[in-house]
Amino acid sequence: MKQESIADNLKKLAIFLALTAVILILMRYLFPEQSALSLEVMRDYSMEVALIFPPVLLLMGLADVWIPEDMVKQYLGKTSGWRGILLSLFLGTLPTGPLFIAFPIASEMLKKGARIANVVVFLGAWASLKMPQIGVEIQFLGLEFAFYRAGLTFIAVICIALITDKLLKRSEISWGKILKE
């Protein structure tokens, strides 16, 4: 990774932020009522992303230099079978934060040779089976509902992953368009 690449991306980010600011200012004048509410939502979401995204990036960077591709292939690759599915499921239930933070991780997994089924299981678990989230769900919707929903989602996530895996071949998919140098 070269120095220019960092400067280049910084410039793009600055332009993007300026555009965003213009949109937000326009909104303040055109829809003052909605503007206040949307800023509140953005603040909450930004907080969550600001807390989770940096360590996720850091762990991705460290994984990139320390975890050899062979190891990813062995544990999550084509021949990893049910062990690979369960490992991906487990990895997906640990974190917190919105699903779009998981996309770059999933992209790296694919790049390093993980099976499509495992990547989709990981995303599904991150989306709906995160343990911290289930705790809050029990609090608001009751143990019975949370138990059934998590159990059924568990089965559904595995079905979705296996069907997607059957339908697609690794050679047909193009991934990591942003992250590739």
């Binding site: 909605q34 953005m42 992303v49 360590p55 699903l99 996309f103």
Partner: protein
């Protein structure tokens, strides 16, 4: 919050350990993280702004009006569709779902709403396509939508 803290501690701990093993590799890891972060940052900002604006035009009270009351098959499908197109932070969603149940909404409807809300992402699709390709994105989201309805129906039978 606690989980976020733990993830940060793990990341920093791993980084420190990494430095004790090889500072060259660790610096490379930091650079990779920085470049990836900068590349992804505009997407994150864009998604957050879009979510904020969308939610302000369709506030929780409006969702409440559609998802409360008598359950019909249309309502379940509508719940799944609302969950698909919206992205609401969990901090808001779960209390909202709880109050909907209290005010008489059916568990089936709420299950459909919650499942597509978390698993199917319309707003984030451009980023998903960029990172995972069109095909995975298409099938993952489509299948998740159908399974959400199946899950909702079974929950309706069980509860």
């Amino acid at each position: 919050m606690l989980v976020a803290l733990i993830i940060n501690i793990i990341a920093i701990g791993t980084l420190v350990y990494s430095f004790t093993q090889s500072s060259r590799k660790s610096i490379q890891a930091l650079k990779t993280a920085l470049v990836k972060g900068l590349k992804l940052a505009p997407w994150m900002v864009g998604i957050i702004v879009l979510i904020g604006i969308a939610l302000s035009f369709v506030p929780p009270e409006v969702i409440e009006r559609y998802l409360g009351g008598e359950m019909t098959i249309y309502q379940v499908v509508a719940a799944a569709l609302i969950g698909t197109v919206s992205m609401i932070p969990n901090l808001i969603t779960l209390p909202l779902a709880g109050s909907l149940i209290d005010s008489g909404a059916s568990y089936t409807t709420i299950a459909a709403f919650l499942t597509t809300l978390t698993m199917v992402g319309f707003v984030t699709m451009p980023l998903e396509i960029k990172l995972l390709g069109k095909k995975i994105t298409f099938w993952r989201n489509l299948l998740a939508f159908f399974f959400a309805i199946i899950i909702a129906v079974i929950i309706g039978v069980l509860m």
